[in-house]
């Protein structure tokens, strides 16, 4: 089928390349005009999505009330709430006998509430029975904390309606169609641009690859819309990044276009799968142990069979399927394992498992010599630890340990030391230590703000440029504006995730979204600033944009965590709909 489709694209391509060949001036003028249009389209797509993301609010919802002894009703705004005397508690109870963090009151997806004591001084009772473990609480039940009686009061039907109404009004519907049309124009024009630049040498399968991607993009959005989804900002942004990815592949290694396309499809499937899986908190929690084992196995397999490419032995070849990077997929497991519900946050053994797994991952990566990915895991680990414990002193301690770690690394791996010394000094030794960075900057600056035109670059000839130095390929061929927009896309995803957790239901989703976001942002930072002489060059990929199948799949997988935190009405397929009032055990 592939051959026949590819053959179908051939005549179109020949016609176009023939036209450009007979009128070479046409190709020049096409590029001259198109380079401005590309930037305009990119700006349109991203500004629309970014504004929509930033404008929309995740409304805070009220799931039930807690009647306090003083007669006040306190709203429970999350699925997981800490009750206690501390100002920072979700339900602040100002009674001396109540401990600072006395207990947790959590709701599950089906609407059942459970209370658990956090080892308080005064102890807790539900309907007069002492609480020893997680205890079911029904509406009207009395929770006694340090002698203070509180009653769980259900949210009235009116309030549920209010919840729904608020969610709906806050959710500015984002119709993706105009952005998709703009993206499609971008893709078609990019294909013409490549033919204008490369003439008949441009491989027809690439053209075909772009067509398939356009179809995938539309199908995904139409299916989502049909399923009732109203928010497409994240998807639009990521489709834009994937389009840039195809442009990079088309210029750097056109023969890989189909592999990359398959990776995108696999990524989207993984994304939907994870979104569906994350709808149910219990499911997410149950799978963790399995993931620990799977992740550890993947890394061990990597250690045993991995081969060296670009300086790190983090690649595995599978006969007939090509190479893949297990460490990319372990990122997903890592976040699953690091995230925890509020109840778990107060249990030590959970953290121990996470720390053990982190140390194992870091150790494996160090043995492989993949210090870039190790740095990403480490930073994610720090972020998750901080989110879980909130102790600033711990953060400082981790920082100190990491400095020692880096010093040791430099001591035993002299080539890393040279990377640190090259940073900011690439132009002192432009043809040796600073080889990649100086070429990246030279080619990148050549493009100016609008680029030399797709297919008109030379930088892809530099080794690993389509992976680790991809910012400069974008900058060279598509211009600094589009390259910067690609980075801002990642930042936007991050800012949005942080905003949406303000109305977070479970700390599991919150931690996962924050960790995935931090991972995206830190990875982008290392990739972009490392290739540009501002940070040491580590050789990590740019999420969604770098050429590489596993990296693409992992990026889509991580996106599911962000999507799961989006609680706007009908915004996310990762969030189960709450608009049927009869649902749950409360009514």
């Amino acid at each position: 089928m592939y051959e026949s489709f590819s053959a179908a694209a051939q005549p179109l391509m020949e016609k176009l390349s023939g036209l450009f060949e007979s009128y070479p001036i046409l190709a020049t003028y096409y590029t001259t005009v198109a380079r401005w249009i590309f930037v305009a389209l990119a700006l349109f797509i991203l500004i629309r999505s970014i504004l929509s993301l930033l404008r929309s609010k995740n409304p805070s919802e009220i799931w039930a009330y807690l009647a306090l002894p003083d007669g006040n009703n306190r709203p429970l705004r999350h699925w997981e709430n800490v009750l206690g005397r501390a100002k920072s508690a979700d339900v602040h109870i100002d009674i001396m006998t109540v401990s600072r963090n006395h207990g947790t009151l959590c709701r599950d997806a089906s609407g059942n509430w459970r209370y658990n004591d956090l080892g308080s001084t005064g102890g807790s009772e539900v309907n007069g029975k002492p609480v020893t473990g997680s205890t079911r609480v029904k509406p009207g039940d009395t929770i006694t904390m340090g002698g203070a009686d509180c009653v769980l009061v259900p949210a009235s039907v009116r309030e549920k309606e209010e919840n729904l109404r608020v969610r709906k009004t806050f959710t500015t519907r984002f119709a993706p169609w105009s952005c998709l049309v703009a993206l499609t124009i971008f893709q078609i024009m990019a294909c013409i641009q490549f033919i204008a630049a490369k003439g008949a040498d441009f491989p027809a399968p690439v053209l075909f690859g772009f067509m398939i991607f356009t179809v995938i993009m539309w199908t995904t959005c139409i299916v989502l819309r049909a399923m009732g989804s109203t928010a497409f900002e994240m998807e639009t942004i990521v489709f834009f990044l994937c389009t840039l990815n195809l442009c990079v592949v088309a210029t750097a290694s056109p023969e890989r276009i189909m592999t990359q396309l398959i990776a995108i499809v696999a990524g989207i499937i993984l994304f939907f799968g994870l979104c569906w899986y994350l709808r149910d908190l219990d499911r997410g929690l149950k799978i963790r142990r399995l993931l620990v084992i799977l992740g550890a196995l993947l890394l061990l397999v990597n250690l045993a069979f991995g081969h060296n490419e670009f300086g790190a032995a983090n690649w595995i070849s599978i006969p007939g399927l090509g190479t893949f990077q297990p460490s990319e997929l372990v990122k997903i497991a890592f976040i699953f394992i690091g995230s925890a519900t509020l109840d778990e946050l107060y249990q030590k053994k959970n953290l121990t498992l996470f720390i053990a797994f982190s140390i194992f991952c870091l150790g494996c990566l160090a043995v492989m010599g993949d210090f870039g990915t190790a740095a990403i895991f480490f930073v994610t680990f720090v972020i998750i630890s901080f989110l879980r414990s909130g102790e600033f002193s711990k953060l400082v301690l981790i920082g100190a340990v990491s400095v020692v770690g880096i010093l040791l690394m430099i001591r035993f791996q002299p080539y890393i030391a040279t990377r640190f010394t090259t940073c900011f000094h690439a132009w002192d030794d432009p043809d040796n230590l600073g080889y990649q960075q100086t070429r990246a900057m030279s080619a990148g600056s050549s493009g100016g703000l609008f680029g030399m035109g797709g297919g008109n670059g030379w930088f892809h000839e530099v080794g690993a440029s389509d992976k680790d130095l991809v910012f400069s390929i974008l900058s060279e061929e598509w211009g600094l504006v589009i390259a910067v927009l690609a980075v801002l896309s990642i930042v936007t995803l991050g800012v949005f995730a942080v905003r949406s957790i303000m109305a977070g239901r479970s700390s599991f989703y919150t931690i996962a979204a924050c960790a995935a976001t931090s991972l995206f942002i830190f990875q982008t930072t290392l990739n972009v600033l490392g290739s540009l002489n501002i940070l040491p060059f580590t050789g990590v990929t740019f999420p969604f944009v770098s050429n590489g199948g596993t990296s693409m799949m992992a990026s889509w997988g991580l996106l599911a965590f962000l999507k799961a935190a989006d609680t706007r009405q009908d915004a996310s397929i990762a969030v189960r709909k709450e608009n049927t009032l009869e649902e749950g055990g409360m009514s």
């Binding site: 020049t28 100086t438 100016g448 609008f450 930072t525």
Partner: protein, 455 residues
């Protein structure tokens, strides 16, 4: 949950780091992008490491070098090629300060917005301020001597003559052996630092005029030697006994002993201050090309303070900096910053640059400059042969004979300016191992300046 929400700020901090880093990079590209793009590894504009686009012309519109995909095309006249070699540069990138290398970004038409993108791939036309005819005269006047000649308009900053030797024909570049120290690839006007000899007395004189009271009644009797300590080396000497000289006579006769006396009166701190102020130890930028930085070191007192004040000891001066100092004296204290680019034009002749003529800092006080001008005029009339050696020139100058120690012939300097109608030019001539300053360098300067006023 509340706590968790607050902790999420950490993610935003990470995002801020990324944004700040990216902002820094965009700023750096804005500032240095031209240099990055002009790096010879850039295949958009270099072919096999050779610049493949852009043309260089002199101020009269004479084509000096055209970069093409098939290699460089130089001017067809051999002597023009050689005379403008160091200003224009080569296609190999050996002459780092040559226009073809240093202004690569302008030749390819780089700008922040468009990068090096060009619809016709023709690059830009770069018009230099140099006059290739004058350069030719200068190059021929220099003959087989090594050294450098610079002439520039101290009112507008245009460098009209810039010659450095040894030179070669860029169309037929010689094999230069590794370790060669003749400076064949160096534009000595911009990149050399040379012992200044007595030309440095212009700085000491400025300090004397400003800080010694009743300098007009200064008098010194030169016996040919001024002994500091008993050892034979601890002395300052003149070629012969100048007899009794006043300040004006001391400068005209370039009496080392008298200036040794003056340096003692001025003192270390003031000498340091004036050396710094003169700009002779500063770095200038000529359209972004950095000049070499001179140096001068003044001991507290004694024989070495004296030598340092008469341009020996550890003194090193860049010829262009000396030329600018002469220009500042001519121009009442501040000179125009020298520049080498007259204009940049698109291949269709439309202007692609904005003219800009910045001034230097005040290198010398206005009234001091005027006094010094008078003294330099006196030098020409009393010591350099006046009208008979420099016919038709309204010349103000100071010679220098830089002793190098051992048996080496001294370097010969001649610097100053002319105030002929319509020709406000300052100049510097350095002839390496040229012998007596006013004779060798002076006569070369005359030949060049005659061509300048008769342009």
């Amino acid at each position: 949950m509340k706590k968790l929400e607050r902790r999420a700020i950490l993610c935003l901090c990470l995002a801020a780091v990324l944004i700040i880093g990216l902002g820094l990079f965009v700023y750096l590209q804005f500032r240095d992008g031209g240099d990055w793009a002009a790096y010879p590894a850039n295949k958009h504009i270099y072919k096999d490491g050779h610049l493949a686009t852009g043309s260089i012309y002199d101020v009269n519109g004479t084509l000096l070098l055209e970069n093409t995909k098939d290699g460089p095309k130089y001017n067809s006249d051999y002597s023009k090629r050689v005379a403008t070699l160091h200003a224009v540069g080569d296609n190999e990138g050996n002459i780092a300060t040559g226009a073809n290398t240093a202004f690569g970004d302008k030749l390819v038409g780089y700008n922040f917005i468009n990068g090096v993108y060009s619809t016709n791939e023709k690059g830009r036309s770069l018009y230099l301020t140099i006059d290739s005819d004058i350069c030719e005269v200068a190059s021929e006047a220099m003959g087989d001597h090594d050294g450098t000649i610079g002439v520039y308009n101290y009112e507008t900053g245009e460098i009209i003559c810039m010659v450095s030797k040894p030179d070669y024909d860029p169309q037929d570049p010689p094999q230069v052996e590794e370790g060669d120290d003749s400076g064949i690839y160096m534009n000595k006007l911009i990149s050399a630092t040379i012992v200044p000899g007595s030309t440095f007395k212009l700085v000491t004189s400025a300090a004397a005029i400003d800080t010694i009271e009743d300098i007009d009644s200064f008098s010194y009797t030169c016996t040919g030697v001024k002994q500091y300590a008993t050892a034979d080396v601890d002395k300052v000497s003149c070629p012969y006994a100048h007899g009794t000289v006043d300040f004006e006579g001391a400068l005209a006769k370039s009496c080392n002993c008298a200036f040794a006396e003056l340096s003692e009166m001025i003192g270390q701190a003031t000498m340091e201050e004036y050396a710094k102020k003169s700009g002779l130890t500063s770095q200038y930028k000529i359209n972004g090309i950095k000049t070499a930085k001179g140096s001068a070191e003044f001991p507290e007192s004694g024989v070495n303070l004296a030598w340092a004040s008469i341009g020996q000891y550890h003194d090193l001066v860049n010829p262009a900096a000396m030329m600018i100092y002469a220009g500042a004296i001519a121009n009442g204290g501040k000179a125009a910053q020298p520049r080498l680019i007259d204009s940049v034009k698109f291949s269709n002749g439309w202007p692609a640059s904005i003219p800009w003529e910045p001034k230097t800092d005040e290198l010398i006080g206005r009234s001091t400059a005027n006094t010094l001008s008078r003294l330099m005029k006196n030098n020409v009339e009393v010591s350099y042969g006046g009208e008979s050696n420099f016919p038709g020139l309204d010349l103000y100058a100071k010679s220098g004979t830089a002793q190098l120690g051992g048996d080496q012939e001294p370097h010969s300097w001649f610097t100053g300016f002319i105030k002929n109608e319509g020709s406000p030019y300052a100049f510097v001539v350095v002839v390496e191992h040229g012998g007596w300053g006013s004779e060798t360098a002076g006569s070369i300067a005359n030949e060049v300046l005659q061509a300048v006023v008769n342009r």
